[in-house]
């Protein structure tokens, strides 16, 4: 107690210059706050398991190379995927419930292109050689991803590619207006620089596969579906295979198409869309003919929308049943065709969640057309590629299959994936790499557990970073929901729209349709990200703590439990649900 005296009045007050630190208020606590990083919905939705919340956080902190390297932890193709991926992540983005999802694919593309233009060499973990050699069949996204991840894990990788250039579907199936060749070349270069050998013009046969078993410690088969499915109708031989057409365009092989002619594209997948959009650029007038409806199409809808904007037409609920050659335009001397189309109707039963369609009686219509393209799917080119060695023990994982036949053989990409996408192909290569590494380290029985152990949240995506026991491994698998975001901290802001060519300009050339975001636009867009579930050092926990218990250390933030009373303010204030309250064991 202190007495303050002066002429007016005496004051008797408790005053101490002893530190109040003697009062360890932490003993009052019955709940304890903790930093509990969780899983972002985008990261769990990404087949490649990219740590998107962290990537956008690093961009917002202007740590551009670090953000890029964070993608490379999980995916060797940021510039490619920023362009061609169907960005499932954006559909899952919590920000979409506030205004619009973060433009994640634009940011990925920005990071990929930025690194390419600055000739960046990534600093990513690569283990020393383990003396094991893997033969990889096919240099599409699955094969190259397998090579990339296996090489990082210390395997010697040799990739066998039938075509003169690597890339598979990326090179031959995706037109340049979506993916320019130099972007693909730069990203494949980076994989080769890891020591991966790519044997070009080296098709693999079933017999070669047998010799691989003697020469290599393991094999990865990621050759995709090399053979297009043909129409089984009368006159089918008059049609042009869509994938072959796209290949010819990329290989700059001449096509005998008349400008101002018309074309029917049979199919509803991404290949059908790419064929139609390519035709538009060759001044051909295409109609996509699909036996189901638009909402049933396996093609990604934004791609279809762009096609429609460019002038492609769509006819739904029509299946070709007959093709007949008719007299064409006399000037061109080329034949024309009459396609008989069976009208279809939606049945009440469903298959795999998709509406089933059945013929609508005998109703037909006829289409008079100059060219017919088919894009109705593909299948493995050789029987040995199709789940080959079933007499051996096999393990079916979410994205790949592992067979224990003399040497372990892994299959990935379209051969095993339910969703035929580039991101899923990459996921299969990564999963196979983890499976093979575990097999050689801990044996067959350990594989499934190891793969499950590095899942991103509860979903199928696996993370190499988690496999390598990095910090991401410690995250809570709980996926942060919109309701768990403290939205008071965020203001509505429009999603960044990348500059793009007008539909009219797109029809004139094979130039890329969209541009990459500027750095300023990318930084602004990254700041829209909630960074769901991860600490971005915003420090609101520290600012709100009434007991000054949040300690900032090099390793991150920590709670001083000597004084924390467990009021939970920090947890309530955390804008992004990166904290949790836990009951004390009393």
């Amino acid at each position: 107690m202190t007495a303050y005296k002066d002429s007016k009045i005496s004051l008797f007050l408790p005053h101490s210059s002893a530190s109040t630190e003697i009062n360890k208020t932490g003993s009052w606590r019955y709940v304890r706050p903790l930093y509990d990083e969780k899983t972002s919905p985008c990261g769990a939705a990404c087949p490649a398991g990219e740590d998107i919340a962290r990537i956008e956080m690093l961009v917002s902190q202007k740590l551009i190379p670090e953000a890029w390297e964070t993608i490379l932890e999980e995916n060797p193709f940021p510039a490619v995927c920023g362009r061609v991926c169907f960005h499932n992540c954006e559909g899952a983005c919590n920000r979409g419930q506030m205004d619009d999802p973060v433009a994640i694919h634009h940011l990925e593309r920005f990071l990929g292109d930025e690194a390419i233009s600055r000739k960046e060499t990534p600093k990513i973990e690569t283990r020393p050689g383990n003396g094991k050699k893997v033969a990889i069949v096919g240099s599409g996204p699955a094969g190259l991803a397998a090579a990339y991840f296996l090489a990082r894990l210390g395997f010697g990788c040799e990739v066998f590619e039938a075509q003169p250039e690597p890339g598979g579907i990326l090179r031959w199936g995706i037109p340049t207006y979506r993916l320019p060749q130099d972007v693909l070349d730069k990203e494949i270069d980076r994989i080769e620089k890891l020591g991966v050998a790519i044997h070009r013009r080296s098709p693999v046969t079933g017999e070669m596969l047998e010799t691989f078993k003697a020469q290599y410690d393991a094999v990865f088969i990621g050759c995709g579906y090399g053979r297009a499915i043909d129409l089984q109708i009368e006159g089918a031989q008059k049609t042009i295979n869509g994938l072959q057409f796209l290949y010819n365009i990329r290989a700059r092989q001449a096509m005998s198409l008349n400008a101002k002619s018309t074309a029917a594209v049979i199919g509803g997948g991404n290949t059908a869309i790419d064929v139609a959009r390519t035709l538009v650029r060759l001044e051909v007038d295409p109609i996509i003919v699909y036996r189901r409806r638009r909402q049933d199409m396996p093609a990604f809808d934004p791609e279809l929308q762009m096609a429609l904007d460019e002038g492609v037409k769509l006819k739904e609920l029509l299946a070709p049943i007959h093709i007949k050659e008719v007299a064409g335009d006399s000037a061109s001397r080329l034949p024309a065709y009459a396609v008989t189309l069976q009208k279809m109707k939606v049945s009440t039963t469903k298959i795999e969640g998709r509406a089933r369609v059945v013929p609508d009686g005998d109703k037909t219509e006829s289409l008079q057309i100059d060219h017919i393209f088919t894009a109705i799917g593909a299948e493995p080119a050789g029987p040995w590629q199709n789940r080959p060695l079933t007499e051996h023990p096999a393990l079916s994982l979410s994205h790949c299959e592992l067979v224990n036949a003399d040497v372990p053989i892994a299959c990935g990409g379209d051969l095993t994936n339910r969703v035929k996408s580039v991101a899923d192909a990459i996921a299969s290569g990564k999963q196979a790499a983890i499976a093979l590494d575990t097999y050689f380290k801990s044996g067959w029985d350990a594989v499934e557990k190891a793969v499950t152990g590095c899942r991103v949240g509860p979903g199928p995506a696996v993370s190499m970073s988690m496999y390598l026991s990095k910090k991401r491994q410690d995250r809570n698998p709980h996926i942060v929901s919109y309701g768990e975001i403290n939205t008071h901290y965020f203001e509505s802001a429009p999603r960044t729209i990348a500059p793009a060519l007008s539909p009219h300009d797109r029809r004139q050339s094979f130039l890329p349709v969209e541009y990459t975001l500027s750095k300023e636009a990318a930084l602004e867009e990254s700041r829209r990200c909630f960074n769901c579930g991860i600490c971005n050092a915003c420090d609101y926990c520290r600012l709100y703590c009434p007991d000054m218990c949040v300690i900032v250390e090099d390793s991150g933030r920590n709670i001083n439990l000597d004084y924390c009373k467990g009021c939970g303010l920090c947890v309530a204030e955390c804008p992004r649900n990166a904290m949790a309250l836990k009951e004390e064991d009393l």
């Binding site: 004051l11 007050l13 210059s17 002893a18 109040t20």
Partner: protein, 392 residues
């Protein structure tokens, strides 16, 4: 300069002139005009104060307690439920001996939800260790606010300047708003006797064991007892500078009075008029205005009322189960007085109901007719039909 101003403006002008440094407030009718004007002054720069917007009255009081502990002059204003919400910290402020000044606009507590005049909100805070001053008109409000800072800082106790909802807070009347120069002479900058100082770390108001707590409380009581003396000195200086006289209580025509009204707030003005009317009819009526409620001006009250016949207290409040609070206080003060008068306690004008000169005259005649108080609390102006309706 004379202006036509609301009672609320009189408060904010006084706070501006007092060069308050930190204001924290949460809006509540009918107080809001006060802090609205102050936030405007802060925005315009006519008052160099930090205005803290808080999420509740509890936080408003906590914020100015913190600011005053740091050694600055502070202000907040509240009303009714807002004051009730501050209750815990009202005790803290006086215990911590912080010379806070707040404006409290008397408003009824709910339910029934009511925003009009009722004194129960402030009177039910009588044991919190705050000095309370009840104002009669807008000039009284302005002067009392300026004096409140002097008084608070002289005894290190907080002061509540109390004004009636709407009858004062929202009523325009002429007010003399002094210039800054004379105010600066009257009210020099706040010189804290203790304050938090980062250069010399220390803690105030931590644990106090039984061996010292009682002395600490006695210290508050002695400070309260010092108030009348300090008030008188401050009022004297005020009169020299501004020419207006203020006293803890005021006796109006009490010399030969046989019945003396005792009341506070704007009802005093109504009583002044009623007394004049009664005098013109030959009745010996008088009036005692209570300005200070805490500390209660016991000596003054005894001096004026000893030997008188009857006192009629007009309470615009009620302590349920007892009586009007001013009446209780008055009876307690007179119990040990020599030949105390009879005390008639009237409860009137709750929740904004009008108390007119006629109401007061009615009270006068009732008091005159009675030979002793019928009950401890006589309710004036009740609607008999309503009362009977629930008694049936």
């Amino acid at each position: 300069m004379r202006q036509v101003a609301e009672g609320s403006q009189a408060v904010s002008e006084a706070v501006r002139l007092a060069k308050v440094q930190v204001i924290a407030a949460y809006p509540i009718t009918p107080q809001t005009h006060i802090v609205e004007a102050l936030s405007d002054f802060c925005a315009k720069g006519t008052l160099n104060a930090r205005f803290i917007c808080v999420e509740s009255e509890h936080s408003a009081m906590a914020a100015i307690i913190g600011a005053a502990s740091g050694g600055v002059r502070t202000f907040t204003a509240t009303s009714s439920h807002g004051l009730a919400y501050m209750h815990e910290l009202l005790h803290w402020a006086s215990g911590a001996r912080l010379p806070l000044v707040i404006a409290e606009v008397n408003r009824a507590l709910g339910p029934g939800w009511n925003i009009w005049l009722d004194q129960t909100d402030s009177l039910s805070q009588r044991d919190t260790g705050w000095i309370q001053m009840y104002c009669e008109d807008s000039q009284d409000v302005l002067d009392s606010t300026l004096m409140a800072y002097r008084l608070a800082e002289s005894v290190n106790l907080p002061v509540m300047v109390v004004l009636d909802a709407f009858f004062l807070s929202h009523t325009y009347e002429p007010v003399d708003v002094p210039d800054q120069g004379p105010v600066d002479r009257f009210l020099p900058p706040f010189l804290p006797r203790f304050q938090l100082d980062p250069a010399n770390p220390g803690a105030f108001n931590q644990f106090v064991a039984p061996h010292a707590y009682m002395e600490m409380r006695y210290n508050i009581q002695t400070a309260m007892e010092k108030v009348p003396e300090n008030y008188a000195r401050i009022a004297e200086e005020f009169e020299i500078i501004f020419g207006r006289q203020h006293t803890p209580a005021e006796a109006v025509q009490c010399g030969d009075a046989e019945i003396i009204f005792v009341t506070a707030g704007t009802t005093v003005s109504t009583c002044r008029q009623a007394v004049n009317r009664l005098r013109s009819k030959g009745e010996k009526a008088g009036l005692l205005k209570l300005k200070l409620f805490r500390p209660f001006p016991v000596d003054f009250v005894r001096q004026i009322l000893s030997g008188k016949q009857k006192v009629a207290v007009v309470d615009r409040n009620c302590s349920f189960g007892a009586s009007g609070i001013f009446a209780q206080e008055l009876k307690a003060a007179l119990y040990q007085a020599e030949s105390p008068p009879q005390v008639y306690g009237y409860i009137a004008g709750l929740g904004g109901r009008d108390v007119t000169p006629e109401t007061i005259e009615d009270i006068y005649w009732q008091t005159k007719k009675a030979d002793r108080p019928r009950t401890e609390n006589m309710w004036v102006g009740l609607d008999q039909e309503t009362v009977e309706s629930w008694q049936r």
